[in-house]
Symmetry: C2
Subunit: 219 residues, 2 copies
C-alpha cells in the first residue's frame, strides 16, 4: 500500500523516518499525546526547523501553539515505512548472531514475524531458538513451497552467502537483511539492506580521530 | 594523527570511506596492485565520476590510463579513518550479541583489540569468550585503573545503558559503539556510533514497499 504523498518525500527524509518512528513510539508508550517541534527537537538532537520540514513532507502538519498529534504521525510514518504489512521473516545462520537476532523482541513488534531458522550445521538442526526450530538449509525449497517467506536475514559466513542468496532469489524472496561482510548482487526487484558492522566500527574510529563530529555524521 | 587534507573532506565522502577501504582491502588480498575508476566503479556499483571526485578529496589521484595504486589509497584511507592507532576495546554485555561481536575476526584486523568483556550476570562471570574472560561489571573501575580502554561496545539491554554509559564516561572512555535500542547522551568529547538494528529493518521494509529503491538509499 503506497501513501499518496509518498512519492514526493526525499530520500534523505525517508532515511530519518525510522528514528522519528522510534521516538514517537516511545512517547506514545509514556502516554504523551502531542508534542511541539521544539520539544521533539530537544529530545532527538535535531533542529526544530528540520523536524518541521521533514514532517511537512508527508502532511504531518503541526499546529501553531499545539504541536503534533503523536498517534497520527506515528501511524502515518508506519504506513510509509510499510510496517503494517507484516513480513514472514527467516534467519539463515544459527550462530551467535542468528541467535541474537532471533531473540530481538523489537522485530516482532514492528511486524517482522520470525517463521524459520536455517543452518547447514547438522548439529544445530532440530534445536530451537526462541521457540523456532532450526532446519537444514537444504529444506529451504520445501519450506518456501509450503509456507513462503518475505524477508531473509543473512547471518552466515561470507563464503556461503552467494550460493544461499541465489537460492533465495530463485525462491522469490522480497528482501534481504545482510549482516555478512560482503555486498551482494541481486535483481532489481529484491530489496537489500546491509548492516556492515566493520564499516560502522571504522566510522567510530574516524569520529574518535577527529574529535567530536558525532552529531554531524549522524545527521 | 590528522591527515593534512583531511579537514576539507566533506562528511558525505567520509561516510563512504569504510566501503572503499573494504573493497580496496579485498583487491589487495587478491594481489591486485592498481585499478581504474571505471573498474572500481563496476565492482562497487558507484559511478566512476563519483569515485574520482571522492578520491580526489584526499589526494588519491588516479593517472589517466594507469588508474589508482591500490596500496597507497588503502593506507591513506586507513590513516584518515584512524585505523593505524590501535584501540583497546571492551564489550559490555556477554549475551548472544556480545558473543557474536567478540568472535568477529574482522575487528582485530582493523586494529580493534578486544581486551575485556563485562556483564552483571554472575553466572557468566569467569567464562571465556574468544579467550577473553568475562568479568563482573562492578570490576570495571579497577580494570580502567590498571589497564584502560578506548572503546566500549554496548551490547546490553536498554534499561541498563544509562548507568553503564555514565560510568564509562567518568572513566574516560573515548568512543562508544552502541547496539542498545536507545540513543545515548554523552559529553562532546566522547564519540558515539549507533547501530540501531530496528531502524535498519524498518528501512528494509520501506525498500520492499516502494519496490527497488535499494541502490538510491544506499548511495
Amino acid at each position: 500500500m503506497k501513501s499518496e504523498n509518498n512519492k514526493s518525500v526525499p530520500l534523505v527524509v525517508i532515511k530519518r523516518l525510522p528514528r522519528y518512528y522510534r521516538y514517537l513510539g516511545e512517547l506514545l508508550k509514556q502516554g504523551v499525546t502531542r508534542i511541539s517541534s521544539k520539544h521533539l527537537s530537544e529530545k532527538m538532537g535535531v533542529t526544530a526547523s528540520q523536524i518541521r520540514q521533514d514532517l511537512n513532507c508527508f502532511g504531518g502538519f503541526g499546529q501553531q501553539g499545539y504541536g503534533y498529534k503523536i498517534e497520527n504521525l506515528y501511524h502515518e510514518i508506519g504506513e510509509i515505512l510499510g510496517l503494517s504489512r507484516g513480513y514472514r521473516t527467516i534467519i539463515i545462520g544459527a550462530g551467535n548472531l542468528g541467535h541474537a537476532l532471533a531473540n530481538h523482541s523489537n522485530f516482532e513488534k514492528r511486524g517482522f514475524h520470525l517463521v524459520g531458522i536455517f543452518d547447514n550445521n547438522s548439529e544445530l538442526v532440530g534445536s530451537r531458538i526462541n521457540q523456532i526450530p532450526v532446519s537444514h538449509i537444504d529444506t529451504i525449497e520445501d519450506f518456501f513451497r509450503e509456507k513462503g517467506a518475505d524477508i531473509a536475514i543473512l547471518a552466515l559466513p561470507k563464503h556461503s552467502v552467494k550460493e544461499v542468496v541465489d537460492r533465495l532469489v530463485a525462491l522469490g524472496i522480497k528482501g534481504l537483511w545482510n549482516f555478512s561482510y560482503t555486498d551482494i548482487d541481486v535483481p532489481d526487484d529484491v530489496a537489500v539492506e546491509n548492516v556492515h558492522l566493520s564499516d560502522s566500527l571504522m566510522t567510530l574510529s574516524y569520529k574518535i580521530t577527529e574529535g567530536n563530529t558525532a552529531s554531524d555524521l549522524d545527521a
